[in-house]
Each structure stands twice: as C-alpha cells, then as structure tokens.
Amino acid sequence: MSQSHRLAKGGLIDRSKPLSFTFDGKTYKGYAGDTLASALLANDVQLVARSFKYHRPRGILTAGSEEPNALVGLRAGARHEPNVRATVAELYDGLIAQSQNRWPSLAFDLGAVNSLLSPFFAAGFYYKTFMWPASFWEKVYEPLIRRAAGLGKPPVGDDPDIYEKAFAHCDLLVIGAGSAGLAAALAAARSGARVILADEGPMLGGRLLSDKRIIGNQSGLDWVKATEAELVSLPNVRIMPRTTIFGVYDHGVYGALERVNDHVATPPAHEPRQRAYRIYAKRAVLAAGAIERPHVFGNNDRPGVMLGSAMRTYINRYAVVPTKRVAIFTSSDEGYATAHDLIAAGASVQAIIDTRADATISAAHDIPHFKGAKILRTLGNKQVQSVEIELADGSTRILDCDGVAMSNGWNPAVHLTCHQGGRPVWDDKINAFLPGNLPAGLSVAGAAQGHFGLKDTLADGFRLGASAVDDLGFKAPAIAMPDTDPESLAHTPLWRVKTSKGKCFVDFQHDVTDTDIELANREGFRSVEHMKRYTTLGMATDQGKTSNISGLAILGEASGRSMAEVGTTIFRPPYTPVALGALAGHHVHKGFRPTRLTPSHQWAEEQGAVFMETGLWLRAQYFPKTKNESWLDAMIREVEITRSKVGVCDVSTLGKIDLQGKDVGTFLDRVYTGTFSTLPVGKVRYGLMMREDGFVQDDGTTARLSENRWLMTTTTAGAGKVMAHLEFCHQVLWPELDIAFTSVTEQWAQYSIAGPHARDVLKKLVDARHDISNEAFPYMACGAITICNGIPARLFRISFSGELAYEIGVPNRYGDALIRAIMKAGEEFGITPYGLEALSTMRIEKGHVAGGELNGQTTPRDLGLIKMVSQKKDCIGKHMSERPAMLYPDRPIFVGLKPKNPKSKLTGGAHFLDKGAKPSLENDLGHMMSVAYSPMLKSWIGLGIVKRGRERIGDTIRAVDFVRGTEFEVEICDPVFFDPQGERLRG
C-alpha cells in the first residue's frame, strides 16, 4: 500500500524524485515537493501524534504553520529537533521522524488513561489540590506532572550545525508571497524601490498553489510563475523563500528566520542551517493571508478531521487525497469548493453538512446535502469511521466516512499587526478580527485585512505596494487589474455545536474544550486573559492560531458578551517558534563574546602560562615552572623572585586615555578626587574617581607628558565606563572646556618591570642617551625615551607591587618582541614573568585597593583614602560621598587582617564576627574583600572592611566562612603589610 492515497497525476510534486523516509521506524516513500504531512497522508498514515494532556490520538489538521496536532521529533542524535510541524517540514531523502509524548508507542499509549480521568482534570483543577502535605509538591505531584507534560524530548549534545545572523535593508518589505504579496511586490518593484519579498514556504504563490484559479487569461499558477520571473529579473528585488517574518519591532525593524538548509538532511559544508535576520524596512506590506477555522463539535480531534482548505491543498498541491470518503462540515460556501476538488480527485463526498439553513449555494452532482445540519460527533478509534449528524429537523443519523473537512470561515493572520501593541477589531460583516492600530510603516493587504476574494487580494496588493513606495518618493507605474474567476465566499460561522456528544476541542494541542471555557467563566475568569491563563487556551506551540477565536466566541456566549466586548488576548512574537540557536547565531561556545588577547599572549602561551578571564581579556594567571607546579607554588615563586630579584608582568590591558588641550588640568580636578592641575610635566600622580553618587568608580594614574598632553590609565575592567564618563562630563557637563580625548589602550604594549634589579634590566634596553638613574628619573617620574636602538617608548616609574618598578610602553607591534627582550635582558638577574596571582599578592601585601575593593559600594573614606579627596575643591561625587550614612562611625572601614595562625587559609567573602558573638546581621562586622598567601610574611593575609576597624587595630575577631565551612581568628591590622615606609619603591 505504498502511497495508496497519492493521485496519479497533478500537484506540484516532482514524481521523478522519489524520496524515502521513516516515521516511528517504518519506511515510507514520498516525492520531492512533499511535506512530511503530505507524504504521511499519501501513505495513509493518519495517526501521527498524541495530545498534551489527555494523550488522545491526533492526526493532521492543517497544511500550514498553524498546525496544532501533527508535531513530531525530526532527525536523530544531536540534530534531533522536538515539536516540528509535519505540515511544514519539507521532505528529503532519508528523513527520520518520531512521534512524541507517547509510551510505549503511538498506537498504544498508556498516557491515554488521562483521558479516562478527564472528569477530574477540568481546567485549573491543579490550583485546587495537591496542596497537602506541603512537602509533597516537589517530591510527588510535580515530578508526575512534569513527566507527563512537555511534548518532545530535548536534544542531547552539541548541535553540529551552524547558525548565522544577518542584516538586510529595503524600502519595502512584503510579508507573504500569496496573491496579495506578489501583487504588492510587483507594483513596488516596478518603481525601482528596493523590495524584499519573504514567504515562510519554499514556493511563492500562497493559496494559488492550493486552489485552481484563473487570473487574467492564465491559470493562477502561471500568473505566479510569470510574476516570480519578473521579480527575479529585477536587481532591486530580493526574494526570500523559507523565511518567516517572526516579529515586528520598533521603527521598521523586522525579525526574520530563513530556514536555509532545513529541507535537506544536513547542511552543505560551510553553510548554516538557519539564518536570523534583522530586516530594516522603511515600509512593509503584511500579506500573511488567513487561517481557516475549525468547528467545535464532539470528538472533533479524531484523526481524519481536517480543515477544508487543507484538504484542497493536499489534493491540488501535493496530489494526495487525505481521506477517501469525506463528510464536508461547512458554514461557508467554501465547503462546496472542497467537495468539488475531492470529487475531481476521485474521492467520495459522503455528504455536505451545512450549518446554514439559509445557504443558497447548491451541492454539485448527487452529493447528499443537509442544510441547517450539524455534526454532533465523530465515531471511530484512531481514525474517523463515521459521524453522527443532526439534521435541521432535530433528527440524528450516522454517516459513514473516514474523514471530515471543516470550513467555518477564515481568521485574518493579524498577528504581526499586534506586536507593537495593536489590538484587533471585531468586524461583524466578515465575522472576524481585523487589524487594529498598525505599527508605523506597515499596511495590510488581502486576506490578512479580511479581503478574502482573489480579486480583492490582488487589488489590495497592487494598491498598497504602490502607495508604500510612492510614500518614499518613488513612482509606481499603474498596473491594470486582471480579471479573476468567480468565487463564492459567503459564510455564517457556527462557533460550536452545542448539542455535541463527547469532548469538543477548541485548543487541540492543549486539550482545551468548550466546557473548560464555560467552567472558567463560571468561576469568574471572565476577562479573556483570565480565561486563557486558567484554561491554557492558545498557549501551546501554535499559540492558538486555530483555536483562539472559537474560544473567545464560546466565552462571549457563556458570559453574554459580544465578540467585540470580549476582545482578544495579545499576539506576541515570534509568529511561529524560532530555534534558539538561530537567534544566537555564531555567538556560541568561545564565540559568545570576543576574546581580547594581550601583546604577550603568544609568548605566554609558549611559556605554558595558565590564563584567566578579566572582562573580555585573557591574562596570564601564573607561569608554572613544571606541569605539576600548583598556582600557589608558582605564585610564591614569582613573588619571591620579583621581590628579591626582578619580575615582569604584562599590564597592557589597563585603559589608557590620551587627553590634550589647555583645560585638561581643570577637567581632571573635577573628575578626580585629588588635584591634578598642579602636576608638573614629567610626573605621574595616583587618581581616584567617584561616581556622582559618591562611591568610587575607578582608580589609576595620570601622567603629564607635556604642558597640554596627559595620559590617564584606568583599571582594566573600568576602561570603557571611564571613557564614557569622561565624555559625558565633557560633552554634557562642561562643554566649555577645551579638551580632546583619545583612547590609546591598544596603541601601547605595556610591561611592568619590578624588583630590586628592575633598573638593571631596563638599562640594558633603554638607549644610552637616557638617564634613568634614581636621581634623574625618580619615583613617579615619566618620560618619552627610546629603547633597543631607537624604538620610541614611554617610561613611567610607578609601582603596584611596592618594589622599585617601571612601566614601559612601546607601540603594540613591538609588544611580542619586547617581552622576549625583557626576559633576555633579565636573564642574568634571574628574572621571572609574573601573572595576576603574584600581582594580586604583592598589591595585597602593600594594601593597595583593586577589584574586590572597588566594587561600587565603597567610598574613598571606606577605603581609607579620604586624604586623596581634596577638601579645597568640588569634584564629581563629593557632595554625595558626605551624606550622613557615609560619615556614620559604624560604617565598615578598610583594614588589614592577619590570621592568628599564619597557616589559616583566609578566604574572600568571609564575614567578621567578634569572639563569642552569635551570627546575626546586627553582629556582622564586615567582610573579607581580598586574600593572599604572603610569601614575605609567610602567612595568609587579607584586606577587608570592618566596623570601626581603624579604631580596633590589634583586636582579634573571627573570619567566618559558613559556605566554605571555615572559621579563623584574625587580628585587625594596618592594610600595608609590607614595607610600610615605601622604601623599596624609591630605591
């Protein structure tokens, strides 16, 4: 029974390209041009899924992206994708699909027992129970619910495919390439405007692919082909098939997803699976069409029940007769078109059951035709076997059939019009919601605007395509409106069959029935949002595309309100679900954020350095001598050598800002706590910067290179923020000042050479004509020099380590060479490179503040740096740093901490308690900010803030680290542990 439901001819499939695929392990055949759904139907596979709550058997309801039922797992292994709509999954050779949410098998699903329990599982039942005992929720109830819910399985492992982001610009974006969209694109394109035409499907044409129509003197299909050919020929047009416009954002920004390679087994080498676009469009025409409405009647979810329009799509586009003996259930003249196409395809139409007693259209042939009739329920098991119908006179009868085609009118696809807060407006004439207030620049054409007839969709398209680009100054030439074949669209929707028997599903995927909605109303959930949230109507993967309107109608009926009074819930992006991978693009794994490499990176790698993240930078943490040397041993060695001989560290990552102009001194006085205008040329000064709220934001040094040229350094992490802050201060606060800023962070490779032999090493590098003796170049001196035979460099005698130290900067191109040269020059003095661990240890030994202390919560006073705040002038943050709380004597203040037992491994983040004090917020004295093992003191040491700490130097308190399970007695001491007089750095 291979492809038993495939027609011998017709359709838009390619019979010369047979394809093989498997569903739940069984192999089937289809053709190129099929979707998974059409191929399954061709093979008479009707049962394809189980529903979310009751695990009821489900088939294929639609032929488009609105499908609520036919969700499958596609592909296997790391390429497995859950919850794929079979109706839009293009078939390819070797496709593998599995059904979901069933155990042990699709045909025999134990979860279906839920269906028997359904009387207990009314909407919102879970809010009323599972409360006793309280602890049972996490242990018993919730795990059961979670296992039962959830549809598809999550993928396992890393996705082998790549994703891209891209940006596109146009004058006009046309969303949807059906008749209206094609017409709009054509009208606009002929003006020369740049047009993007996007459609979610692989082919242009929309319903013209599904219904046999006439446009002018050609078939609808030929018109599509001719139009497409012209658009393709125009250089100003970009056609984007397989592209869903998923969201409308502010100012003409549209989110789009292009499924570049979902229609093949695996993407070709170097090609992405999907591409997420940001499309910038000056204007847009929404031509997204409409979605046909199902009927709500008993067991309307049984496989074999399908939308009439979908049935015509399967017949005409895919050459598949979904079911062969069909009952037409219609409230619209379109049901008769479905009957026509079924008969043309050789199927049997068992009856047309028209809910309208006053329907004027007549049934063709000798089809049994019941006006004013309804289907009360379907009968059967995993496929419809018959339906029970109620005739106009109230009598009932059973009608044999294997399928039901429903036509209940159309809902315009207004979704995208709501993404900016637009509210759809009910229209009594067409019995549907129409777009309300529109996003700026967007107009709506064709069926999406409720203009369902082909003539209207074309007219809308031509008109709106032209007017959109005319608006932008183009001149769209007039297009003569072609004739179309007659069609009959009269309809009177029936929102539900009240006399139904069995469950009447409104939201198929979430198993929400008409009685659930009535119950919500009965319990007071009258707001449409309350009803939605209480019943979960419209919250499934289809977001209620086939269910929302029926649901609103039933709520209106139950609460005695009109559709307009009930209103709608809000449609949100994305229009259809979008793979998370696509929205991340290539920003995954190491590509998540840039990795900034230091000038010495390659050299450090060669040394076997261990690196650590510092913001976006990778910096050497330590340089293990052997593979097994621990970070602690390496750090101790690096510190000992630096303090006894000499060490070198890459400090290029510190922010560097070149400031020029005659007002720089004045400016620095205002942004720094200290005074800089008095700094002599050739000197460096330490600077502390507050935010306007009085907390420290950054520190660094600023050097005066010449009368009007200065160089500021910032912390590595603070570089960007400080630059923006300075630009704010200049441009917004004090534009009268004459200053120019330039970030030169990356121009200079900069190394700190520290230790008693620092000058000796430097002498070997610095060109002889420069005198760098202590007298000629004292502590806090700076100057331009040359090194290594004329390479320009800058030298700063500054020290973070507390040693005799210099920072030497060279143009970055020499950065790699300079670290090698320094190491070579330092060889005879026993030089070591040191990493951030050693750097941190040495600054803690010196009591210098850094990241842990500059946490945005500390004032200069807190950090013991109040003497850095000039009392003679204002600066950013001055007033706010003197608020009462900041002067409160109990405010924790910066101190050093030394464990009573030097081996006690202090930890950052420990809090302080007095001896004997119980843990409580009142007794909390402060916390440890930074710790290190001090090779100089042969003891762990720490920096922290302690309530009244300066008054308590010498006191012993407890450093308590509950989360690490340690507690040590520590003595409060001065934060400068090593060389308190600073003799070494002046040596």
């Binding site: 679900p577 998370l580 945005g856």
Partner: protein, 416 residues
C-alpha cells in the same frame, strides 16, 4: 468554597457545575477605610493581609485592567531570598517563609516548587563575591551552599563545562528557592481577599489622588470619586504616573524587561539557574517550557514590549551556558514595565502626605517579594510603623545615604 481533593472529586461527578466564582465583581462603595491602587500581586497581597492580619474589611483594590494584569502574570516566576545586603535579607527571607506556607494559608495551589536556585560563578573573584553573599545570608540563618564545578555538574550535566567562553567554576545554591505559578499567586490572594470582604474593582483606573491640607482624601477613578482614609500606591511600573497626581517625585525610572518561553519539552532543567557572566536566568515550567530572561532593554519605557537586541542578547546568554538547547524553539517573548529604583532595592514607606503610602522600586525582583511586600505594606498602613523586616526600605534613604545597592552599580537604574 474550600478547595480540597474532596471538592475535586465531588465536582468531577457533578460535571463541574457547582464551582463558585473565585471573586465578586462588586460596585465601588462611596468610601473605604483603605484603598489600594494596583490589583497586581503586591496590591492583592496587601489587601489580603490587611484583612487577615489586621482585621480591615472595608477595603478596595482598584486596577485599571483585569486583576493580575501586570508583572505578576508575566514574570519568570522565580522565588528566592539569596540577597547580600543587610537591608534586604530579612525582608526577602520573610517573604520566602511566607511562600512556604502560602498555599495552605490561602487554600490555593500556587505550585510553589522549592527546586533550588543556582547562581553560577565563572571566576575566583566571582566565587568570593558569592561566598560573601552566601555568608551574609547565613548570618541571618538563611542556608546557602557554595558548590564547586563537580557539584554543579552533577545538578546540570547538560550545561557547557568544556567549551564555554566563560567556563563554569561552580555556583551558589539556595535549595529553598524555586518557582511558583505566577497567575495562581494573584488569584490565590484575590480569592483570599475577596472572601474576607475586600472589594476588588477591576477595570477601574485611578485618575487622581486627591489630597487636601496635606492629607489624602480619596481617589478619582474612571468609575467616579472613591473616598478613602488611607491610600496605598502599589502600581509597579506605573508608580510615577500615579504618584505625580499627588505631587510626589520619586527616585524611580520605568524600564521594559523582556521574558521568554520556549516550546514545551520533557524535563531538562531541574532548578533555577543563573549565568554569572551575564544576567541570564532560566527554569523549566511544569508544562515543560523553558522560562527565561536577562537584562532590561536599557531605555525607559511604558510600552510592555521589547526589541530585538534584547532578545538576541538573552538567547546568546542562554546558549552560552547550555548550547544543547540550540534546536529548542522560542515560543513567545513579551515585555513588562519595571519600576527601577536608584539603588535596585524596593521602597515601602510613608510619603510625607498623611494617609498616603507607597510600595515601589521592585526592579525585576518583585514576584518573589509578593507575600512580604503585601504583608509589610499592610503592617505599615494598619499601624503607621514599618514592619521590622522592612525598616531599611525607606524612601529617604537616597538622601541619607543608606542605600541598598546589591550590584554596586550606583544611581543608574538600567545597570541594576
């Protein structure tokens, strides 16, 4: 009517015909003792506790839309008390304790699920920051666990431990944290308040707070003037708009925060996880959707919708810790308005206008605070004294300097 297993069974056999409305749709009275502006979680909780703890029944809650239409119905449902600052810790811990007994208290299953909140850290300094926070919690008796990489791996083995830009070094876990079903919280409080006689006036917009001689007299609403002896502003993102009708200027800016949910998948994420090298947080709902969010859209806004850069940034962060979800699909994203305070912490205080009280500045942490926020505002309105756990949440703390800045980012709300 009381909910129980028995009522469910009984109604199953009665075709669900006898369930009673969960709340009334009353007409506004001319005068109330207390009027709460804002029928979100906090406003409803305030009314509930005013009635339950303080015996006030002549109370109304007004909301311009349906009850629970604000952030309580559109957040990422996280409940936790893992705060660092002493001004916050007792308050949020009080809230978590209330959560733990809430469902039994108001007889409504809000699906409070204490599945744990895990904050990942990615560097030694961040580990120390989390230790500082964990220890601060422990000072107040709030349990926190500092986990190493292996312990984290055991809980979330599907996350990226090998190839991440910011490798996972460990995490701070609060096992008592978790999630709750957001709508049910609003409904539970509403039902509890309504049954105690509170009038919940939906679709009733506050137009103007009327103040005479420095004393509040009532509120002009879209349904007429309603007299009230005391008025509480509990209007979240719209706080400024309401407060300015009484002449108040506040340290508040309103920003949009986006939230996201994926299609439902079978259970994957066992607890709430946050990403330390970004601002990302994620959990999985009982229905199976991955519920997540990250930073604010960084501009002020009263439009409850966000933009693409925020969407992409959030999803990049999701992929940064768990690239295996790349083929899971985003189902829906939406936005809500956040009342961001200047230090990132809330305000529950008097206003300087007699009888007018304010509850705002919830930033994006309001949901977890719902019970305590209502509890403490009720206490304040009933007694004119701050509740002991909320004494730090003062309106004048920016003037005095006693700010509660967890993030240390200063008076720049979009950085909190």
């Amino acid at each position: 009517m009381r909910y129980s297993v028995f009522s469910i069974v009984e109604q199953a056999f009665k075709g669900q015909k006898d369930w009673k409305p969960v709340w009334r749709y009353p007409e506004p009275k001319a005068e109330y003792d207390m009027l709460i502006i804002g029928g979100g979680g906090h406003g409803l909780a305030t009314a509930y506790y005013l009635a339950k703890n303080h015996g006030y029944t002549n109370i109304a809650v007004i909301d311009k839309n349906y009850l629970g239409s604000g952030s309580v119905g559109r957040n990422t449902t996280i409940v936790r008390s893992n705060y660092q600052e002493p001004g916050n810790i007792p308050f949020y811990e009080h809230s978590l304790k209330l959560w733990e007994g809430l469902e039994q208290d108001f007889n409504y299953n809000a699906m409070m699920s204490q599945r744990g909140v895990l904050n990942l850290y990615h560097s030694d300094s961040q580990r120390d920051d989390y230790a500082r926070r964990g220890n601060a919690m422990m000072m107040h008796g709030v349990r926190a666990d500092l986990l190493n990489r292996e312990q984290v791996h055991e809980i979330v083995p599907f996350m990226d431990f090998d190839n991440a830009r910011f490798p996972i070094h460990g995490g701070l876990m609060q096992w008592r944290g978790g999630t709750a079903r957001h709508d049910a919280v609003a409904w539970g409080f509403a039902r509890g308040a309504d049954s105690r006689g509170v009038d919940i006036l939906q679709n009733t917009e506050a137009k103007q707070i009327r103040v005479e001689n420095g004393k509040v007299t009532g509120v002009e609403t879209s349904r007429g003037f309603i007299k009230a002896k005391k008025v509480g502003i509990v209007a979240a993102g719209n706080t400024t708009r309401i407060a300015e009708t009484a002449g108040l200027r506040l340290p508040i800016e309103s920003y949009v925060l986006q939230a996201f949910v994926s299609e439902a998948i079978k259970p994957l994420i066992p607890c709430v996880v946050t990403f330390g090298a970004g601002h990302f947080y994620i959990s999985q709902s009982d229905k199976g959707g991955l519920v997540f969010g990250a930073s604010l859209d960084y501009y002020t806004s009263y439009a409850a919708r966000g933009n693409l850069p925020g969407v992409e940034d959030t999803i990049e962060e999701a992929m940064a810790i768990m690239p295996s979800i790349s083929r899971v699909k985003l189902l829906r994203h939406w936005g809500g308005i956040m009342d961001m305070s200047m230090d990132g912490s809330p305000i529950i205080d008097k206003t300087g206008i007699d009888g007018l009280y304010i509850n705002c500045g919830w930033c994006y942490g309001g949901f977890k605070a719902t019970p305590a926020s209502g509890y403490c505002l009720a206490h304040l309105m009933a007694t004119d004294e701050s509740h002991p756990v909320a004494t730090a949440l003062k309106l004048n703390r920016f003037e005095t300097g006693y700010v509660i800045d967890e993030a240390g980012t200063g008076a720049q709300p979009n950085l909190h």
